[in-house]
Each structure stands twice: as C-alpha cells, then as structure tokens.
Assembly symmetry: C2
DNA sequence: TATCCGGCTATCGTATGCAATTGACAGCGC
DNA sequence: GCGCTGTCAATTGCATACGATAGCCGGATA
C-alpha cells in the first residue's frame, strides 16, 4: 500500500519538482483550474496535485496519506502537506483521523446513495438555470470541452476521468452562481471517489455522447427534456457504480457491523 | 479595528484558556455541536471558537484576523491558528489573501442573493424529506430546540442569533443526510455573515414564531404547505437583510469601483 | 509640491525540532 | 494456550525559528 502511494507520487513528482522551482506560472496552467497569473504557495500546489491524483483515481479510497511520504516526494516540508490535507478533508475527499494519519476517504454505500441523490437535485437546478440564460459563449465553451473529452477518449485513463467530471463543473460555472458551482464541485468530486470504490471498470465513465445530448437538450430550451436527459445521465453514472455491491466491502468493518447487530 | 478583535478575543479567551488546560471534555460540551468524548486538538478548538465568534456576529465581516493576535489570545502557536483559518476559508466564512492575512468574509450583495437562492432550494428539499419521514423523536428535538430559543430570546444577543441558525441545521440533520446537512450548514453560516453585513438590527432575526409554524406544518404532513411556510420564512429573513442596501458599502472599494467605471 | 525610490516593520509562508500519542510486539503471568 | 502489560518504533500535533513579501514612511529629486 505504501508502495502504491510511492509509485503514484513519483509519477506526479516530476511535475511537482518543476513546480517548486520557479516555473510556477506554466505548471499552474497544466493543472487546469487555475486562472492565470495566480501565484501558488507550496501548500496550494500540494493540494492541487493530491486532489488531481485522487480525482483521477490514481490514489484509491483507503490509501493512507502519510505526511512524511508525501512531503519527501514533493520535496516540501510536512507543514505544507498538512495544509493541503486539511483542505482536502474540508472538501470531504480525505479522512483525517487524529494521530493516525490521513487517508483517501472511503464513502460507504449509504453515503454514496446520499451523494447521488443530492447530486441529482443540484444538477437539475443547474440545468434549469442554464436553459433560462445560457448564451452563445457558454455553448462554445461546452463544445470545446466535449472536444477535449473526445480527444482524451482513446487515453482510457486519468485524463478522461477528470474531464468527465469537469464537464459537470463547467455546467455549474456557466450558471454564474459561485455557491452552486462550489457544491457541484464537491458532489462531483465525491462521486469520483464513489466510482473508484464501487464501480467495476470505470468504462468511459460518463459517456461523452451523453454529454453531447445534454448540450443539445440545452439548445432546445426545453426545460423538462433537458432535465430528463441530465437525470438519466446521472442515473446511468449511478448504475455503473452500484450494480455490484460485491465490491462494496473490501472493508471488513462494514461486514462485521451486520454481525454485531449495529443495524 | 485591531482593538475590536482584541476585545472579542479577550471575551472568548476565558473559555479558551480553560479549554487549553485539561478541561476539554466539559468545554467541548459548552461548544455545542460536539458528540461527547470527542477529543479536540488545539486547532479544532480555535476553529470552533472563531467560528462561533463569527456566527454570533461578534466578529463582523471585514475584521482582520491576524494570526499572531489570535495565537496570543488563545495561548497557542500560529500553527494551530493557521489550521483553523484554512478550514474556515474552505467553508467560505473567512477570506484568505496570500501574504496579507485573513479576514472575515464580506459577501457582496450579489453573492448574498446567490446564497439565499440556493438556501431556498436546499431547505425546500429538507422540508420535503422531513414531511416524508420525521418521527416522534425528531419532533421532540425540534421542540426542545425551540424552547431553548425562547429562553434565549430575552438575551437579544449572540446566543439567540446562533440558535436561530442552528434550528435550520437541526432540521437538515434530521433528514439523516450528511451531505445535505453539510451544505445547509454552509449556507446558513454564510447567511449569518450576510445578515451581519446588510441587515439593520438583527431583530429576533428568525422569529421563533416562524420556527414554531414550521414545526406545525411538518406535523400536518402537508408538503406544499410546509414548503410554503419555509420559503416564506426564508423570504422574511432575506427581506430583513436586503431592504437597505445603503449599508451595503461600508467598504470603499465597492463605491470607488463605480466611479472607476469598472462596471 | 508631487512623485518616485529605498529602507523598515509587520506579517505571512515554510522548515525543522521536540513532545505526545498510537499501534505493535515481546515477555510475563494465569 | 490465552490474555495482559510494559516497552519501542513510527507518526502525528504543536511550537519555534527563519526567510520572504507587502505596505508604510521619509527623503530625495524633478
């Protein structure tokens, strides 16, 4: 397990080292969501890299995130790592057990259903708002994004997973509501964890086609139809996840709970 | 300004000092939301105290939160304070400007409307779920809470402000959905900031009566009615806030922007 | 007089060191 | 053989120390 973390971080550390030299602006661009010229502290960089690693499912749920290990690999002090871990914990994608170290969060099946249910609500709202006022510029960004997704499709790897999630975040951003965006970002992140934990193979996870359909529905300005498409899309995502709750328990405590009569 | 922070923290530090001795369990109880026996790190304690101070509107939007000052008053190191500030920042109630220190967030009017709109959506969902499955135990907790609110009413101070917000959080908790609770907690927190910034006098802010009506509506199991009451309640809260956008600009930059033609 | 420049101070970002807690293992008693 | 207890290593929590950055103020210059 420690070995796995080792491997992942080594792969990322190539970026990290450059980042921690003075190539920041460029590297920030690479990391995606940064608005340019935004200077990044070490803690910020670690935060982004870890987040990326988790959302790309390189770091799987349950993986222990030792401060020392991470600090060594990113060539920073534990202080910076801690800052990042605290933030990730606040977002719910890292569990922070006192004196026992951090690990990638392991959503339970129950939590998974909970998240999905909320996600449906939030994204339905997104659709409603977008049908009302999405302009040409917005559609352009969406289409551009989908093109990127298609380009990354052959990759079958981390990139396509991340882009699939970011499509939904982009939708939320286009509503112009910061708060809504924030929440969508969070549920999408956690859904990524859930899929990592429960889904068999992540397949092309969110089929790009479904995203294209959503755009088309938005164009049609038909609220009911658009909402329906989105919900079906989310159902599809959820189905891919929960169909096999077999994989649901690599975690013994879940199993034992039932025998202990804790519900 | 620094003087104000000084005063507030001094008032809180009485608690803090005890807390940082070994009286933790007791003190934690005082702080409300803790499930007993949960040991708290220094960072955690600072987090809770700051959060409480902000939500009770003792620390008003815009107040600078110097790490040194806080650390001195709570008798902890800056390290612990930083951890707390990072968390508060993640929740959106503290702004963290690089190399310039933290300050209590100052929601703009635009953000305020955004938050309220989201809040309506989230709490409507809460009501829908509660109408469906709130049991006797739940009603009991709600009524207990309202009694506390009534008791605190004469106080006209921090306590009643906090309890008013916590009523809504309690409602969310009763749905059993962690994610929903989390989001409601966040919007309620930010609404508190908004009221602190824009509302004239916070009056009994959320009239206790309105809370009682909500409970009654829940009892009636009439979704439409209950939802309506809740939305009216939130409208009332919002009205109290936005009726006088005069107070909207104690902040010069907002004013100057208009003259600079930046929008 | 207004503007620009340089040092100064206050404050933050990061690294490191030490104390404290946890979990494991060996040894002892039952 | 089983369980308990005390010691040890590993890892975190916290404090302190240092370097870096932003904002302030005074002086010099046009």
């Amino acid at each position: 397990m420690a070995t796995l973390l080792y491997t992942i971080l080594t792969r990322l550390s190539g970026i990290a080292i450059e980042v921690l030299g003075h190539v920041l602006p460029t590297a920030v661009g690479v990391l995606g969501e940064a608005t340019l010229s935004e200077r990044s502290s070490r803690s910020e960089v670690v935060y982004r890299l870890l987040r990326q690693a988790i959302l790309e499912q390189a770091l799987k749920p349950g993986t222990k995130l030792s401060e020392d290990t991470i600090a060594d690999h990113f060539k920073v002090s534990r202080t910076s790592v801690r800052g990042a871990l605290v933030r990730l914990n606040a977002e719910g994608i890292v569990d922070l057990r006192a004196n026992k170290g951090a690990c990638v969060a392991e959503p339970t099946l129950e939590e998974a259903r909970d998240i999905f249910s909320l996600r449906r609500m939030l994204e339905a709202e997104v659709i409603r708002r977008l049908v009302a006022d999405l302009g040409a510029a917005g559609f352009k960004r969406l289409e551009q994004h989908v093109r990127e997704e298609q380009a990354a499709l052959s990759d079958h790897g981390p990139l396509s997973i991340r882009l699939a999630g970011e499509f939904h975040i982009l939708l939320a951003e286009l509503t112009g509501s910061q708060a809504l965006t924030r929440f969508v970002r969070e549920v999408v992140s956690r859904c990524s964890l859930i899929l990592a934990r429960f889904a068999r193979l992540h397949s092309p996870e969110c089929a790009v086609d479904e995203h294209i359909q959503i755009i088309r529905a938005l164009r049609s300005k038909d609220i009911a139809a658009a909402e329906k498409i989105m919900l079906e899309h989310l159902d599809a995502v959820e189905l891919r996840a929960e169909l096999n709750p077999d994989k649901a328990e690599p975690d013994i405590s879940e199993i034992l709970k039932r025998y202990a009569g804790e519900s």
